[in-house]
Amino acid sequence: MQFCIFILILPLLSFLILGLCGSKMPHKLAGTIGTVSLSVVTILAYTVAVIYFGGGRGDEGTFPTLIPYDYTWLPFAGTLSIDMGILLDPISVMMLIVISTVSLMVHIYSLGYMKGERGFQRYYAFLSLFTFSMLGLVVATNIFQMYLFWELVGVSSYLLIGFYYTSPKAIAASKKAFIVTRFADLFFLIGILIYGYYTKTFSFSVNETMLMAASSMLPLSLGLMFVGGAGKSAMFPLHIWLPDAMEGPTPVSALIHAATMVVAGVYLVARLFPLFIGYAPDVLHIIAYVGAFTALYAAVVACVQTDIKRVLAFSTISQIAFMMVALGVCTSSNPHDGGLGYMASMFHLFTHAMFKGLLFLGAGAIIHAVHSNEKSNMGGLRKYMPITHITFLIACLAIAGIPPFSGFFSKDEILAACYNFSTTMGVFMSIIAAITAFYMFRLYNLIFWGKSHYEEELAAYNAREREEKPHKPHEAPFVMTLPLIILAVISSIAGFIPFGEFISSNGESYSIHLQPAVAIASITLAVASIAIATIMYRKGDSKITIYINTHLKGFIKAAYNRFYIDELWLFITKKIIFNGISRPIAWFDRNVIDGSLDKIASMTQKLSNHVRPMQSGNIQSYNIWFLSGALLLILILIYLA
């Protein structure tokens, strides 16, 4: 398994090459370097997976945890040290697969999507950096290494959101994403430090006695770490950065803000799952409630957004919240008794990465074709973009939870886990799943069915009401449709992967079995939601839509504005924190600290101005001073003697 180091080295190399000499390369070469290095990484990742899972289970019936590399980087006292290494266990191997697959798809897709853009090489350099950091994050052997790569991921996300740095909106969005996630990471760091202080190690595997000694502080530390995870995974109320992050290029949204980076929080909780379940089950349940609320909130908001990428962004928030809920409802580490959620969460992470990546890439193809994010500029696109249409439909069916597409299986496991936890939670999550199906098909219908915006404009042009000829939507080039097709295939069949065989909460084999009652109920709900959405949106605004729009006007407006959470944050930061805390501190800094230093400086300057004439360069006056000093010394010596 020693070759797995190349999984990290190759993207880093590619980043360095593209970053240092990219500006002198032609676009094609830069794209090829990035894509080829990532293809190799993908092959390596799959090889690792085959060898790892093919290697079979150990004596205890679990897959062994391999650490091919472990290097003590910064030793502190005793057992406490910051290490760098590679850790392979079922979830990290699965994440390697997810990241490399989606990343490769995005690399290929971007060859078409970003063609001719300014800064094409920079784009590929950042993609490589991101891939490197994300891979480093998932194979981290200890919490501190994870934190380092966590921040690197944040940086590359910042760079990619702000890729179009000439657009003020993109700059604002990148700053927002960075500040919000960084704010959350502060809690993560505090959590890590508490953890390290009390358990005397940063490692994930802590011996029992140490843990018992630290058990009183573990819930606090794990809770703080979850805040960090919530920031990256856009849990309410730290979700505000994710919708704005859609200002970045669409493939970036697919890679970072749908498939990989935003699930880092889920991965963190899963990584620390043994600690959560053993020492802080209450924190785990809080995570479940936060997740459930986030899921509902994001789903409702997604129903009324008009920007298709924002719909997908809120859908992402909602789906990640599903994973969080699935982890949160676990009550033991036995998959047969309350530990089902862990497997369900990882399964959903896997399938979601595929179909949400597909949705974003599809949305990218659509935006590429109509040059707009707004749904009003779309409509009736199925005739013009058949491949995109079919793949998008598959993804919608997957996310809505229609068998046999992958989303059905993973979501069903989550719902089953929720019902095991409590009926209320189960019903609640089922409703959200139904809303999910509704908003996804609202989106689908608005994009691909209904009146064609292009045809309307063409008619207007023909009737000479419009000056220029409208742009005809066209199907994306092959490099863009290929990833769509691959991801669509994966989304269709991934549900049949015996996922429990590979990953479960205690590592033992667990065969997935559908609970008929849950499955039938969720299918029924999903189908019903799809039907409602189709009736309401297939042919433009139907009567029901108008009725609802008029009677729930206030609610819809509030939902469209995301229930004013952003404004609330702004109010808190600008009005309360800036005025109440920052301003006095700034005043203190400027007038007391700076003031005293300024005084010292100006006094020194004044003194210097008085002393300066002595430095005249005139040897005679130097000599007078010298002699005076010597005489003074002699006088002192005489006096002392």
């Binding site: 005679q620 006056s621 007078i624 002699l627 005076s628 005489l631 002699i634 006088l635 005489i638």
Partner: protein, 169 residues
């Protein structure tokens, strides 16, 4: 009787030297300053004679008065007009210099007065040339052949240096 004569001669000599020295440092014409310096140098030779160091006095007169003052005079004549102006120093500097020098002088005189020197060994026999030659050329303790050789090298270096510096290009 003889001592009294000695002291009177010494007093006259010192007065002359001090007066000449003061004149040398305040005279506004540089040629005159050099001349006053010559008087001081002669006075110094007189001091050496009074110590019965006749060879030293002779050397003082030949090297200093005969060599250095001639150099000065040559330099002054070569520079000509540039050597006229001397005393345009500021009043403050003048007073400061005067005050420091006076303070240093008084301190030194105080120190000399408050120290008792060994004086009993003074002999009026002077130094025989044989002893002087042995001391300069000898290699024993308190003999100075090495210093002598070093000094000769130094003088050679100075000669070469002076020629190099002053040579016209």
């Amino acid at each position: 009787m003889e001592e009294t004569t000695n002291i009177i001669i010494f007093g006259i000599l010192s007065l002359l030297m001090v007066a000449a020295a003061v004149a040398a440092v305040i005279s506004s014409k540089i040629m005159r300053a050099a001349t006053y310096l010559l008087f001081v140098l002669f006075g110094t030779a007189g001091i050496y004679f009074s110590l019965f160091y006749t060879f030293l006095g002779a050397a003082q007169i030949t090297v200093y008065a005969g060599g250095i003052v001639v150099l000065f005079v040559f330099a002054i004549l070569l520079i000509g007009k540039g050597s006229v102006d001397i005393t345009h120093t500021s009043k403050l500097r003048y007073l400061a210099g005067l005050a420091t020098s006076a303070a240093g002088l008084s301190l030194t005189i105080y120190l000399i007065r408050s120290t008792s020197f060994v004086t009993g060994k003074f002999s009026s026999a002077g130094v025989s040339m044989e002893k002087l030659g042995n001391t300069i050329m000898g290699t024993d303790k308190y003999n100075f052949v090495l210093t002598f050789e070093v000094l000769s090298i130094l003088l050679l270096a100075c000669m070469v240096g002076a020629i190099l510096i002053a040579r016209k290009k």
